[in-house]
Symmetry: C2
Subunit: 121 residues, 2 copies
Amino acid sequence: MSKRHATSRTTACCDLAGILPPRFFKALGDPNRIALLARLAACGRPCGVTEMAACCPIDFSVTSRHLAILRDAGIIHSEKRGKEVHYAVRFQEISTALRAMADALDGCCPSRKTKAKGTTK
Amino acid sequence: MSKRHATSRTTACCDLAGILPPRFFKALGDPNRIALLARLAACGRPCGVTEMAACCPIDFSVTSRHLAILRDAGIIHSEKRGKEVHYAVRFQEISTALRAMADALDGCCPSRKTKAKGTTK
DNA sequence: GTTATACTTGCATAGTGACGCAAATGAGCA
DNA sequence: TGCTCATTTGCGTCACTATGCAAGTATAAC
């Protein structure tokens, strides 16, 4: 964050598309995946696919696929332990990403630009 | 901050599904919609559908539909002015929502729970 | 009233995603 | 080696979504 004048702020605004990755949002756009994520978060520890599948009314294989989609989107993280695969929520990464998006939007907001000079935080 | 002990924090975690609305994410899950949102944000002022459509390689009617989807998801806001419909980004609402999601996730994070007692904010 | 402009909606089509079942893969165990 | 458990992958089906075209609606100008 070195050069930060009017022009750079406009540029940052145009770059909004780069900060908002469709794949991330697409991964979170399914109710079952949100349910899985919530369950995984509530669990408080890495969980296997079998354990996760128990909470959803969908086929076991579908649960596995949903978890893979969430993993590919960088939302959860998988680790192989013996014959099990343990999934865990990437709390830090997601919240950082969400805050970065919020900051980017604040940086674009016309009223913010006029009122305050710097971005929030 | 009235009753906020271990149990309530666990409850907040289970409620994650309520804080992460699929429709919001679904709306942001399309590249063209992200492009439209970025364009609208870069514009810095309310824009009509015709003006927005110029930036996307899709049919005019599709642009209109995409904007409607973004509006129904609470991401943008529409206002009729004469025969034009002006769309504008709801900067404040989105960034607030994103930060709320980030906070909720932080509140669920096991390491945070152990280290710090209160939730962020 | 008629015409032009701005936008929305109906409809058909192609592409994508979610789903369940069954088979395949991989790791531990007898 | 053969067996079992945990998970992934292939495949067909159904549903939803994005898209373009054409028709419809609403508002302003003539």
